[in-house]
Symmetry: C2
Subunit: 254 residues, 2 copies
Amino acid sequence: MGARVEARLHVAGALAGTLAIDAGRAHYLKNVLRLKPGAWVGVFNAAAGEFAARIDSYTRHGGTLVVDSQLRAPQAEPDLWLVFAPIKRARIDITVEKATELGASRIQPVFTRHTVVTRVNGERLAAIATEAAEQSERLSVPEIGEPLPLDRLLDGWDARRALVICDETGAGPPLARVARDLALDGPHAVLIGPEGGFAPVELDRLRKLPFVTPAGLGPRVLRADTAALAALAVLQAVAHERFGAPPPRFASSP
Amino acid sequence: MGARVEARLHVAGALAGTLAIDAGRAHYLKNVLRLKPGAWVGVFNAAAGEFAARIDSYTRHGGTLVVDSQLRAPQAEPDLWLVFAPIKRARIDITVEKATELGASRIQPVFTRHTVVTRVNGERLAAIATEAAEQSERLSVPEIGEPLPLDRLLDGWDARRALVICDETGAGPPLARVARDLALDGPHAVLIGPEGGFAPVELDRLRKLPFVTPAGLGPRVLRADTAALAALAVLQAVAHERFGAPPPRFASSP
C-alpha cells in the first residue's frame, strides 16, 4: 500500500481483518471527506499502533474497512494526567483539544469549593479528545475521567503518582525547576485550580500530602485554561529535552 | 482609596487628573459592569504603571475618570515577539488572547508561501489583546504588527533580536534546551511556521541567518496555535526560573 492515508480513525480493539465502522464515521468518510471505497485511511490505538486500512464498503448503517500493513508500532507515551476544575464550554473544549495535542493521558475534571461550573458533558469531551488525537498523530486518546469532588479524588489518589499543583497563591517554585526534579517517565499529574482559587482548607490539605508539589507559572495572571496548557507545555518540553523524541510536525486544520 | 477596583482599563498617555473615556468604554462600565459614578477602576499602561481612578461622570459621548493614587509602579516586561502565519479566525483570536497572557510584547503576523489565510483584522486583534491585558493584570498591551511577507520581515530584522524558529521538520534541538542558551532579558522572538510547513526556500534562508536558532516542540503533532502557545509558555517558564517573579494569580473569566 503506497497510497496516501486520507484520514486517521481511532478504533478500539484488534486492528486486523475487516473492521465495522459506525454510521457517524461512515458519514464523515463518505460525505465530509468524500472518500470512495478503495481509499486508504489509518486506524490506530495505543495497544496496536497504526495500520493502513482500505475503505471496503458503505452500508445503510455504517461501513467496513479492510486492514492492511502496519504503519507504526505502539510506542511509549507519557503517563500524565491533567486535573482541572471545569470552566465554561468553549474554554473546556479548547483545553481538552490542546491537552490531547500536548500529550495528556487522562483529563480529570474535579469540583472544588470555588468551582462555578457544576456539569461536564463527558461524551462531548471524549469526542473532542478523539478528534484531536486523530488530527495530532497520537496513537492513544486521553481518557476523560468522571468528574469528582477534589476530596474524593485525593482520597483515592495513588501516592506513586506525583501531583504538581499550579497554585494561584504563587507559593510554589517555578514550574521549570519543579519539572527538573520530577520522574517524567513515571506517573504524574498537574492540578490547575479553579478561577476563584482554591479554598484555604483545600490548599491546607493539598500541601500536607506527600505526593503533592506546588509550582508557580510565572508573573502574569493566567486564565485557568491558559494555565493548564502552559503547565502541560512546560512538562512536555522538559520531558522532550530529557528523553528526546521523534521529530514533530504540525497538523493541518480540519 | 481603600475600595476594590472593579475593572482595569488600558489608557495611553499620562495617568493623572481627569481622563476622558470613549463611548465604548463608558458603555462597558455603565451598562455591562453596571458601575455607578463613584466606583473605582484601575487605569494602566506600560510607561506609567497602574493607578486607581474614580468614575466621575457618564456623558452623552463617553465619560470621565479622576485619577487617584498609584497602585503599581511600571515594571520590566519581556521583549518577546510572537511571529506567526495567520490561521482561521477562532484560532487566531485564541492565539492573541493567550499570547497576551503569556507575555508576548508584539504579535507579528507573517505571510509565508504556504500560508492560506491572506487577511488579518488588526483592529479586532488589537481589541482582543487589550482585553486580555486588562484581564491578566499586565501593564502593557502587546503591539499587533502589520502583516508582512516573511521575506520582507527578515529583510528588516534587527540582528540583535534572537529568532527561535519552531520548525515542523523537527530539525531543531528541544526548545527547553534552546531556551537555556537565550538571553531572555534581551530582545527575542519565536516564529511558528504555517500549518502547511515552511517552503524549502524559506527554511534555507532562515537557517542561514545568524540570528536564527531552530527548535523542536516535542514528539506530537501540534496545530499552529497550540505550537505558538506551547513555545511562549516554555520561554516564559525558563525566564521565570532564571529571573524569578512576583506570584501568579489566575484571572477570572469576563
